[in-house]
Point group: C2
């Protein structure tokens, strides 16, 4: 197969569950691939072959650089990229280095906060991408996901951040708790969601009781699955908003995440009178990896 002359570097987002790669020319995507070879499924010597497997067909020139972010840089990953401590710009000057065949691999470090203790890996790259696309932006970034991050950004630095397990709790409660009998649907009751957000914001400490109330209401009154599922999501996001209030109250907010989850957060914030911009997660990841690639090529 002939070389693909348009690919000048390779972008990699390597999380716990998934591996996604893009063949890039500058800031543009030429080709993409993905697999389920997440960090969580690999031993240390499995990373190189898993990546090689996805990009072998691309036939890129020897020495094409690879820039990677995410859990690939954790202690259980390919090469550990030690955390950098906030406040700090989202991208640093150095990377954890390895190789994949003839390709140098540069892994972006995550961020940590000493007190309260907190960590992120991957989100720093999305934040860097957002700042590359919105230079000089100050405000609050919310990155919904399994472990949602709220980050305060000012003068190009991440000042502080906080992680919430709401996304993982939602998945566990939906799929494995007694509530699974009541929420089995893909439908959505937007009004029930907003009511639940308001309920949780006003009485966040009632969460563990309100959750069982979903099951009891279903048993006693036959509440629809769409209402139950939206109420479960609304209670968890509302409780998160109650805790994150110092982050969002009176601030400029941007959401970086998947479409559906970002829309839910945006609706919850809008109901509190807080407008939020929504930015696509993949686009921010690529913009952040591109910023890292450019800093490698032309160190400032």
């Amino acid at each position: 197969m002939a070389p693909s002359p348009h690919i000048t570097w390779i972008a990699v987002d390597w999380g716990t569950s998934n591996l996604r790669v893009w063949g890039m020319q500058g800031g543009s995507v030429e080709v993409r691939a993905q697999s389920n070879d997440g960090m969580g499924t690999l031993s240390r010597d499995g990373f190189g072959p898993a990546l090689q497997n996805l990009i072998a067909d691309w036939n890129t020139p020897d020495g094409t650089p690879i820039i990677a972010c995410g859990m690939v840089g954790s202690r259980q990953g390919w090469v550990e990229a030690p955390y950098r401590t906030v406040p700090t710009p989202p991208l640093g000057d150095s990377f954890a280095e390895t190789t994949c065949g003839t390709n140098p691999v540069h892994i972006i470090a995550g961020l940590k906060q000493d007190s309260p203790a907190d960590v992120m890996r991957g989100e720093e790259t999305q934040i860097a991408g957002f700042l590359a696309l919105n230079p000089g932006w100050d405000g609050i970034l919310c990155l919904p996901g399994t472990h949602t991050k709220w980050a305060e950004v000012s003068a190009g630095e991440v000042i502080s951040f906080q992680t919430y397990m709401s996304g993982e709790m939602y998945a566990l409660l939906c799929d494995q708790s007694v509530l699974r009998h009541s929420v089995a649907t893909n439908d959505w009751d937007a009004a029930a969601f907003e009511t639940a957000v308001a309920d949780a914001l006003s009485r966040p400490e009632k969460l563990a009781a309100a959750l069982f109330g979903i099951r009891a209401s279903d048993l006693l009154a036959g509440i629809s699955p769409a209402t139950s599922r939206a109420r479960l999501s609304g209670l968890l996001i509302g409780a998160e908003l109650a805790a994150a209030r110092p982050y969002w109250l009176g601030r400029q907010i941007a959401l970086i995440g998947g479409v559906t989850q970002s829309q839910h957060y945006a609706a919850a914030l809008a109901a509190q009178g807080v407008p939020a911009t929504v930015a696509d997660a993949e686009r921010m990841t690529l913009a952040g990896l591109t910023a890292a690639y450019r800093s490698l090529k032309d160190p400032s």
Copy 2:
């Protein structure tokens, strides 16, 4: 095999995951057996054989009555015993009826509360047992478990109750969330538990962030698994106590549950200056089933 003349009736506690049976003479246990044939594993025609299987060897006289409580009386159970509405005495006058071979089977109804919607099945029998052993007792009963119940009891009736999913959330977070990496131990740090209870009681809305803090503290500071596990439990129980404050503040409390879980609740309450009596769950179940048997034999 000769008949077992000492068994005058059979007590059954049939939950979602387990089936436990006792051969009784009046209020005394003559023999016991158990299996994993919980309600959740059986189709409707599987209940009779599962029970028969455990008691066949006992060789009781034809017509020996069986009294059962728990999820066996739910819509997905053997025979539905419709909920009775609070306020009401924990045991009613009627049972759901079926047979197991020549044995009549009497299934105790659960309780429901219309607003806020709530349900219990099995705990009403433990409450009845506690009241049979403590006639005239007024106060708050807390029944720790997968779905912990707080019930207000007065003048022999259950006045109101509330269910918390803290136990199920603890199990899911310990076994299946990102926290599983940090809490894999059977050791326990009692001081960390008390601190976490206090933290959650003073800032219950911070729960979802405090949970991830356990993982971050482990990654950044190498907190011991015993401390992490006790902190996880303390945060969940503390958040529950914050929500249940109207139940326990200034009240007389008795705990009905397993030894370890009851001790944790008792320690959390003691740290708030609230003494609590601890009653053994199995003993209360048997006392409640005995009370039901006596009401059948000698209707008042």
